[in-house]
């Protein structure tokens, strides 16, 4: 059995479809079937949607949000099903639950998975190492494997007209040792995760105030503002804007990198971007190796001109 896990609410989102797609590929290669486990709010609706995307069995843990309870619930289900693999989204939650679940099950965690092959009836995982400067192809010596999948790296399952019966389960009655007190309201503007256009800034902006201009540019393009690790470290942008191996993985059509040198760990977050535009004073900056269009210039000079040009074109329409 291959267990796919999602926290999508009220239906399967893109990342949930990708996890199911990878689970189906693995199940086919190993002669197994797929169970989807949906957790969180409105998990029943998400689990019900999984049938169309290839799950042969679906389990809903309604309102299981807290991670200690999620690890307990998933460990119990994986044991019961004799799961050979458990696949999760590689986000803030999956990155914590994955290793814990692997240890709990006596198995192996594979984090930040980018690709999956099957050789000699064994999954072989590709993952970034050294901040994305290199890749590793790795197998595990103890099942089950619990893998967290980079968003945008796996082919999403295709929708069909199949259905699945949903089994609803209560969360295991563990004492809450970790209590969630507050969740900050989502920041203003479009979240970077799903935006079709992202305007990101880095250390080369020189000052936090320039993020105001990025906001303005993003507004004109209908996009979101992103940031490099250096910009978040400098306090210019909140952590939920960070793009990279330890931030969000994004796959926009258009990605602007203003004053971002292009450290490998940043590039590891934009592998799925279609067109990258880089603006940097250093013509040797690694970002130009990933860019389709490049401008060697101080981004603080180009930003106002670019905003002006887009305004002029919008007015001429």
């Amino acid at each position: 059995m291959i267990l796919a896990v999602t926290w999508d609410t009220g239906g399967l989102g893109r990342s949930g479809q990708e996890v199911l797609g990878a689970a189906t590929t693995l199940a086919t290669a190993l002669g197994e079937t797929v169970t989807l486990a949906a957790l969180g709010h409105d998990a029943g609706a998400t689990a019900a949607a999984a049938g169309a995307y290839g799950a042969g069995h679906a389990v809903a843990f309604d309102d299981v949000v807290e991670r200690e309870a999620a690890v307990d619930a998933l460990a119990e289900l994986a044991r019961e099903l004799g799961a050979r693999a458990v696949l999760l989204v590689d986000d803030e939650r999956g990155g914590e639950i994955g290793p814990r679940l692997a240890q709990r099950l006596g198995g192996t965690a594979i984090t930040h998975a980018l690709a999956l092959d099957v050789a000699d009836s064994q999954p072989v995982w590709t993952r970034p190492v050294f901040g994305g400067k290199a890749l590793a192809a790795v197998r595990t010596t103890a099942e089950p494997v619990v893998a967290t999948l980079r968003q945008g790296a796996f082919v999403a399952a295709v929708s069909t007209n199949r259905t699945v019966e949903v089994e609803t389960r209560a969360a295991p009655g563990a004492a809450a040792v970790v209590e969630l007190l507050e969740v900050a309201p989502p920041a203003a503007g479009i979240a970077v995760g799903q935006a079709p256009v992202i305007v990101s800034g880095g250390r080369g902006l020189g000052e936090g105030e320039s993020f105001g201009e990025l906001e303005e540019l993003a507004g004109l393009l209908g996009g979101a503002v992103g940031a490099s690790l250096a910009a978040v470290d400098a306090g210019w942008a909140p952590a939920d804007r960070q793009v990279g191996l330890t931030g969000k993985t994004v796959s926009p059509d258009l990605y602007f990198a203003f004053g971002i040198s292009g450290a490998s760990q940043h590039l590891a977050g934009i592998g799925g971007a279609k067109v990258v535009v880089a603006v940097n004073t250093d013509a040797e900056a690694p970002i130009f190796g990933r860019a389709r269009l490049g401008v060697v210039m101080d981004c603080r000079k180009l930003l106002p001109a670019l905003i002006e040009e887009l305004r002029r074109r919008a007015a001429a329409q």
Binding site: D91, E92, R93, G95, E96, P99, R100, A102, Q103, R104, T108, A109, T111, H112, R127, V129, F130, G131, K133, A134, A136, V138, T140, A142, V177, V178, E179, L180, L181, V183, A184, P185, P186, L221, L229, V232, A234, P238, A239, T246, L254, A263, K274, V275, V277, P286, F288, G289, R292, L293, G294, V295, K301, L302, A305, L306, E309, L310, R313, A314
Partner: protein, 270 residues
């Protein structure tokens, strides 16, 4: 409350990709490719521990590092910013690091330290980028874990912690003993040490333990490994960058927007 910080020395993460190499015989970067430094998230974890000590929440900070002799330098750095004690667990493993093996060693070392109530780890070490060790240690010790933390305060008999969640910041309460993994934040830049601090750190004793001291034999260590590497390689990246230029910023902006329209990334009216 006693806090232990899990430290790691990693290959200089600023080494440019064009200088980075992997030796196919070992699946690791060749020895001496670049200096090894205290990892950035480990720096954040150490700073958080020191801030908790400044605030009186923590009374003692122990720096713990597993690895070779070179780790002494990193532990001296931790002592120079006023970590109270430093412990080196000496063990050398061939090939890429294995997070399960690392966690098995560190969990035993934490128990030998008297199981400090608070364990702080960086969210992931910037060499093998697993992001696992803190969580695996938590499971081995049977403790709750909170990941991607960047702020901690004493609450109602519990610790109040702020972390990055999928939708933004989340505030939680956790009762120690617990394991926290620490992420980057502008408030967690590791403090500097003075020359006097460095001199004092050089005089301090660094405790050295072997894996035998921790009751881990070679067979047990080998059995803790979970990963088997087919290969590690540096991918080739072919640059296709087209540089856009002009006399002044306005001209460059117009040319850039024009190319984006050609590539159908912007509507022709945009």
């Amino acid at each position: 409350m006693h806090a232990v910080v899990l430290l790691k020395q990693i290959l200089d993460w600023e080494l440019p990709p064009r200088k980075f190499r992997i030796d196919p015989a070992t699946n690791c970067p060749p020895a001496g490719l670049a200096p090894k430094l205290l990892g950035p998230f480990e720096q954040n974890a150490l700073e958080l521990a020191l801030q908790l000590k400044d605030a009186g929440v923590v009374t003692k900070v122990t720096a713990l590092l597993g690895g070779g002799e070179a780790g002494v330098e990193t532990l001296r750095k931790a002592l120079s910013v006023h970590a109270d004690e430093a412990v080196l667990v000496e063990y050398a493993a061939d090939g890429p690091d294995d997070p399960s093996q690392t966690a098995s060693v560190l969990a035993r070392a934490i128990e030998r330290l008297g199981s400090p109530e608070l364990v702080l780890a960086g969210r992931q070490a910037g060499d093998w980028d697993y992001g696992q060790v803190g969580y695996l240690v938590a499971e081995r010790l049977g403790r709750p874990a909170v990941g991607l933390v960047w702020r901690v305060e004493q609450g109602d008999g519990r610790l109040h912690v702020w972390r990055n969640g999928p939708g933004g910041t989340e505030k939680l309460a956790v009762r120690p003993p617990a394991v926290l993994t620490v992420t980057n934040h502008d408030s967690l830049q590791l403090r500097m040490s003075s020359v006097l601090d460095l001199m004092a750190a050089n005089k301090k004793t660094i405790e050295r333990w072997t894996t035998d001291d921790l009751g881990l034999g070679d067979a047990e260590l080998e059995a803790a490994r979970r990963l088997d590497f087919d290969r590690v390689w540096v991918p080739e990246v072919e640059s296709v960058c087209e540089f856009v230029a002009g006399e002044d910023p306005a001209e460059v902006a117009a040319a850039l927007v024009g190319r984006l329209v050609d590539l159908k990334m912007l509507g022709s009216a945009a």
